[in-house]
Symmetry: C2
Subunit: 162 residues, 2 copies
Amino acid sequence: MSQGVEWALHCTVTLAGQPEGATLLGRDLALYHGVSEAYLLKHLQALVRAGLLESLPGRAGGYRLARPAAEISVLDVVTAIEGVGPSFRCSEIRRRQPGATTEAAAYRRPCPINATMLAAESAWRDVLSGRTIADLLLEIHRRADFDSLVRGAEWLSTRTRN
Amino acid sequence: MSQGVEWALHCTVTLAGQPEGATLLGRDLALYHGVSEAYLLKHLQALVRAGLLESLPGRAGGYRLARPAAEISVLDVVTAIEGVGPSFRCSEIRRRQPGATTEAAAYRRPCPINATMLAAESAWRDVLSGRTIADLLLEIHRRADFDSLVRGAEWLSTRTRN
């Protein structure tokens, strides 16, 4: 899994903590998280394409959430960056075996190996779709060092654009 | 996830269906599954290193399970090929933020973003550790086209080495 997932989750949570309607520049999101601006912009654009963020042009431009944080699941962000396809890809090896038949009907039921791998991915997705960006923001605030939280919020407040 | 996972699972299940103590050559496992012998040997060696297969030298040589199929989980095979580490890697972005403190104690509790990603991977692993190679063999036999199964078994029986 690419590091973009970590960056995208942190940025989405950070934007969720901004005043309603306010934006942050990609440059400031990169500075805030201490990551490469060029790479981050690529991931932010992926979040925009997925309909999770809005990108506003002009002087008051920047990024903000496209819908409430409680309506963006962690899975939404992960799939925006990594794609929706399964990580395990079945190439239907069973049809290449010496005994294989050419009758498609014989393979209507999925290969149990594929079914098992997909069941595991489904369990993975269930956990991520069951947590929202709002959940993460709340949890981060509850766990954070209070002074660090205040200093971070102060830094962000000087960059927020309305 | 690499295609090696699919190949390794199919080979392990195929070996589980062999007479006790019998072996199959890597070349025949590659032929049977219609895959590259050179790549397959690399994956078979990973399964040997993980203690899931035994590799016997000499004229009666080849591969066989190192322990009963009911004691090899799907997760055992997947981690032998893909490694045991988590797919999501937290780089502790939170410690690079402007408000961050240098006191390690402030970060004793894991970042909720990391905790969520690891919970999802744990759910994924639970599914794979709950299914064994014996389960897969049984399920494949129950679902397979009977004639294909017989032809495949006949082909394998001419290659089995005792």
